[in-house]
Amino acid sequence: MALYSEKVMDHFQNPRNVGKLDDADGIGEVGNAKCGDIMRMYIKVKDNIITDVKFNTFGCGSAIATSSMATELIKGKPIEEALELSNKAVVEALDGLPAYKLHCSVLAEQAVRAAVIDYYEKHNIPYDKEKFKIVDCDDCESCGT
């Protein structure tokens, strides 16, 4: 069996929505360079709908593929749905990831969430702060550093 599914390879080799949005309404960045992956998400929001999304990622093949898939899953969707995006949904949409790469999907979920939270904070929109937290890198058990 190949390391990655065809969908992962497709999203890695032809990533969707790569780039930046200079006039983004929300920006989220998670991960750190020491651990080997950083994702940055830019969203544009109009009438509660995510009208555009772009990403920048430093990381392995699955980090790039999960970022790309996450942008596809939230583009054109209501912002509440983006907030609820789970890593599981990203993994399923990619037809699975190797177990030791699952943290990439968590990072993608967290990057989208961070961008939505940034938008909410900027516009003073209330949301469930207990439910939708950003996991601190120091609390992540994925890496030993």
Binding site: M9, F12, Q13, P15, V18, G19, K20, E29, A33, K34, C35, G36, D37, I38, M39, R40, F55, N56, T57, F58, G59, C60, G61, S62, A63, I64, Y100, K101, H103, S142, C143, G144, T145
Partner: protein
């Protein structure tokens, strides 16, 4: 174009090795332990292979050559044997280095759990162990020093002869994992004061599944596999005859052509260093002065190694990386970290290891391809973005 640039991982089986082994898979399939004459001819072939290997390594006697299944097995047996021998005399301290292969590091970890003490030496920024560091680490209860001949990731060559002389003077058994050296650079166990040496056939065009442990005659080996009297009772199990014969043939060929092969590989390697070194914010890892002919190890800032490898694969280039993501762990290569390379930079590493079958045209293709792939990944990297904006400091 398809370019195989991962010869430090494994090599193709040479025609010489294949021709040598085929008869022992077909007509001469007999068990060398059997008595009839057809089988005895097979035993003779194994004996001849042992003599060839002994000659290539500069060993005094073929009785010092033990065939194993791989380099890792040889490493395990060498260290455990030295440890058992030491323990009998109350000596339970072993010295090695931080950038050894896991076959060494994990064996040492296991020995620690059994009550042995281990000192792992620093390898400095140039990837070279200092003889004085070895000298300073030696204690009255040191029972083994093990230092790899050439590092598998960065390709740096260690001062083996000098470390061997020091150990000889102190009466401490000296082992070297020479998996990346044998067949590529001169190795002479007598001249270099080596007591035990591990090698693996598939690194010099023999098939996978066969290795050698050289062990000087006054050092008793501990047997891992009990059974028959093969390998003088130190490694039971019917011999991998075809593999053993192929290993000897491949080693002989590699040693006979060592100088011309090295010259060819060094020309290719140096071209890669010169051209890929022009990529901005890249770093060549390890001393260039003490270096095997075929290995190139570099870091590119702002990108991650696995994505680089996957894209190079798409372009037909087979390479390797010390990046975390290729290993199933999240930490980058212990080798690169031991050279003091920061995590951030170590994640973006690339190892190209060339062999004598590679061509200059292939190097040109690598040189044409790598910069574009690096730039593509940098263009989508938030780390590179910060480096460009000056909000993050360059590490190289």
């Amino acid at each position: 174009m398809f370019v195989y640039a991962d010869n430090a991982a494994t090599t193709s089986v040479s025609k010489t090795a294949l021709d040598a082994m085929l008869p022992f898979l077909t007509d001469s399939y007999f068990n060398p332990s059997s008595l009839y004459s057809s089988a005895q001819k097979v035993a003779e072939a194994v004996a001849e292979a042992r003599e060839t290997v002994a000659a290539c390594l500069g060993a005094k006697s073929p009785r010092e050559i033990y065939f194993t299944s791989c380099g890792s097995e040889s490493d395990n047996q060498a260290l455990v044997s030295c440890a058992r021998l030491g323990a009998r005399k109350g000596k339970k301290h072993l010295i090695s280095t931080k950038f050894e292969h896991h076959a060494i590091l994990h064996t040492l970890k296991a020995l620690e759990k059994q009550g042995f003490e281990v000192t792992l030496l620093d390898v400095h920024e140039d990837g070279v162990v200092r003889v004085e560091d070895v000298a300073a680490a030696i204690r009255d209860d040191t029972c083994c020093v093990s230092v790899m001949f050439a590092n598998n990731e960065v390709g740096t060559v260690q001062p083996i002869q000098e470390i061997g002389a020091l150990c000889r003077e102190k009466g401490i058994p000296f082992h070297t994992d020479a998996v990346q050296a044998v067949g590529h650079i001169p190795v002479d166990v007598e001249e270099m004061n080596i007591d035990l040496l591990s090698l693996s056939g598939h690194k010099f065009h023999a098939p996978k599944g066969v290795g050698v442990l050289y062990c000087r005659k006054n050092i008793p080996l501990f047997s891992f596999i009990e059974g028959g009297a093969q390998e003088r009772g130190k490694r039971a199990g019917t011999e991998n005859v075809a593999g053993i014969v192929a290993l000897a043939a491949a080693l002989k060929e590699s040693c006979e052509h060592m100088e011309e092969n090295a010259a060819k590989m060094i020309a290719m390697r140096d071209k890669l260093f010169a051209e890929l070194g022009k990529i901005p914010h890249s770093k060549i890892n390890g001393s260039l002065e003490h270096h095997v002919p075929g290995t190139v190890n570099m870091c590119f800032e702002g990108i991650e190694g696995e994505s680089l490898l996957l894209l190079l694969d798409k372009h037909g280039i087979c390479a390797s990386s010390g990046s975390a993501c290729t290993s199933g762990s999240l930490d980058p290569s212990h080798v690169l970290l031991s050279l003091g390379i920061p995590h951030e930079l170590a994640h973006g590493s690339l190892r190209l290891s060339i062999g004598e079958y590679n061509t200059m045209e292939e190097m040109d293709y690598i040189i044409e391809t790598v910069p574009g792939v690096v730039q593509y990944l940098r263009d989508m990297s938030p780390v590179w973005d910060e480096l460009q904006k000056g909000t993050r400091e360059h590490l190289c």
